[in-house]
């Protein structure tokens, strides 16, 4: 079953359709990549899926349920986590706090209990911290818990954002150009991490510009150009599709 379904999704800015009647089915347990030249509408698509922007037409269905028009926190609580193209960390908080926050905000303990510092509240804090440490271990940031998030190296900041999204225990993870600014070695490690995430039964929807690396790990590819979907199929076909090649105009797509 398709975990995430986009049906004729459209988003306009002024007179321009940044996302134009895009339909897409993201299968559960797969890694799906969205490619496209700059300005194709990929990040806008993520914004519309997660509720950051309101769509002008079309529907988003997650897990069989319509989520179009829900507020961002509500979408997140349904089980969708994301990272950002331009990093959005809580820079002045510690690394551990960045990740633990996800667990705390989704936690059941009421604000009053948190305020009073009840046993339940303390347990929730411990659990969130514990889970955070596990995820930091997974993403290779173990040992940096107390560091200020803004002080990390760029590659580590990208990993931190992923850890933070994972702390939401999402069913679907949206990664927006996670390899941006990484050197080849870091990109390889990140690709391995994404595969591990898939093995954790988390569905991944990926936007990437490092086309080769993305195609290596993808199960399925969609290509956008000027807001429209021009390709939807397996990675191997994508590399030889004439429309895709034309869109990139001698860019990075190729064997």
């Amino acid at each position: 079953m398709a975990l995430l379904e986009l049906v004729d999704l459209t988003k306009r800015f002024g007179g321009i359709e940044a996302v134009s009647r895009v339909s897409l089915a993201v299968q559960e347990g797969a890694i799906t990549t969205v490619l496209g030249p700059n300005g194709a509408g990929k990040t806008t698509l993520f914004h519309v899926i997660t509720g950051v922007l309101r769509s002008d037409a079309g529907e988003v269905r997650f897990n069989g349920e319509g989520i179009t028009g829900l507020s961002v926190p509500d979408v997140v609580r349904r089980g969708i986590g994301r990272t950002f193209q331009k990093l959005r960390l809580f820079k002045n908080l510690s690394v551990e706090q960045n990740v633990a926050l996800s667990g705390l905000s989704l936690g059941r303990v009421s604000w009053t209990s948190a305020f009073l510092g009840t046993r339940a509240a303390q347990r929730e804090e411990r659990d969130a911290a514990g889970h955070a440490r596990e995820l930091l271990e997974l993403t290779g940031l173990a040992g940096k818990e107390a560091a200020r998030a803004g002080g990390l190296a760029h590659g580590q900041q990208r990993l931190l954002e992923i850890a933070r999204a994972l702390a939401l225990r999402p069913r679907l993870l949206l990664l927006d150009e996670p390899m941006a600014g990484l050197n080849p070695e870091e990109s390889e490690r990140l690709a391995a991490l994404i595969l591990r995430i898939r093995d954790m039964n988390i569905t991944v929807l990926l936007i990437e510009h490092h086309v080769d690396a993305a195609l290596d790990i993808s199960d399925h590819v969609a290509v956008l150009e000027f807001g429209k979907k021009i390709f939807d199929g397996p990675p191997a076909d994508c590399q030889v599709d004439p429309r895709v090649i034309a869109a990139y105009l001698g860019g990075k797509v190729g064997p």
């Binding site: 806008t44 914004h47 950051v52 922007l53 309101r54």
Partner: protein, 292 residues
């Protein structure tokens, strides 16, 4: 209120409204390019009025020459304000809001010390003259405002839409980073915006101040109203600002005409609240999504 009075009140409303529009346009332009609220805008208005007073009363300059000089003066003042209070704070969202409040307090009280609190009156050659149009009697001073405002608004439109400078401002207002990458100098665009905002606000100083009195706190109410209008019209939306300013002016005039002049200032804020409940993105604006 009979028909004649009604027309007069509408006229007065348009006059007041035009004043508000000119001040509010400056505010909207600044918001559009810097995404900040300049709380000291009313003080530029106030200082412009004082400048006009001194040039006319002490310098015995011609009224129209004064108008030109005040425009330059206000533009310079606006640029100085930007340089001192806002330039270094790009990226700190709360910072310019606070420094503009600080600048506002600073300027108000400086004016209080330098000029004293007594209201001064600014004489103009038109203050006493009236004009008869059929059954209606209009004051010339007031009648001057509408065409001046129209001329300025037209000039602003031409500047923004048809000139290179205007394109610079528009580009930087839409996307600071992209515009810089394309070779536009964003700081120049900002300075230009402030020059225009200052010049716009000078006209009410010179034309309207004679009808009120000139005193150090005259900018405060003006700032409040300008912001009401900007909210009503939609932040950064010039068309909306113009419509909102005129509507507010007429509304206030009606209220005054009906005898409840004490509550005139409250009108603007009640209108504001009503707007926020019904059409928070302003009269003409689209839904602004600030986070993307």
């Amino acid at each position: 209120m009979d028909a004649t009075q009604f027309v007069v009140q509408v006229f007065n409303g348009l006059v007041i409204g035009s004043t508000y529009v000119l001040v509010a346009l400056g505010v909207t332009l600044i918001y559009g390019i810097l995404r900040i609220i300049n709380f000291a805008h009313g003080e530029i208005f106030m200082l412009g009025a004082y400048l006009a007073y001194f040039l006319v009363v002490r310098g015995h300059l011609n009224y129209w020459v004064t108008a030109g000089l005040v425009m330059m003066g206000c533009a310079i003042l606006a640029v100085v304000l930007e340089r001192v209070a806002f330039r270094r704070l790009r990226g700190f969202e709360l910072g310019p809001l606070i420094t503009s409040i600080g600048a506002s307090i600073f300027l108000q009280n400086l004016a209080l010390i330098l000029f004293g609190g007594d209201p001064r009156s600014l004489p103009t050659p038109y203050l006493e003259r009236i004009v008869h149009l059929g059954p209606f009697v209009f004051s010339v001073q007031r009648a001057l405002i509408i065409p001046s405002a129209l001329a300025l608004i037209l000039g602003l439109y031409l500047l923004i839409e048809r000139t290179t400078m205007g394109r610079m401002i528009r580009a930087v207002s839409q996307d600071w980073e992209v515009a810089s990458l394309m070779g536009v100098n964003p700081i120049a665009a900002v300075v230009l915006t402030f020059v225009v905002a200052g010049a716009l606000v000078a006209v009410p100083s010179v034309l309207v101040a004679p009808m009120l009195y000139v005193f150090p706190l005259m900018g405060v109410t003006m700032t409040l109203k300008a912001y009401t209008i900007v909210v009503m019209g939609g932040f950064g939306n010039t068309t909306g600002t113009i419509m909102a300013g005129l509507i507010l002016g007429v509304a206030e005039s009606m209220v005054a005409g009906l005898g409840a002049s004490l509550w005139v200032d409250a009108v603007s804020f009640l209108v504001l609240i009503a707007f926020l409940l019904v059409r928070p993105y302003g009269l003409v604006g689209e839904r602004r999504e600030e986070n993307a």
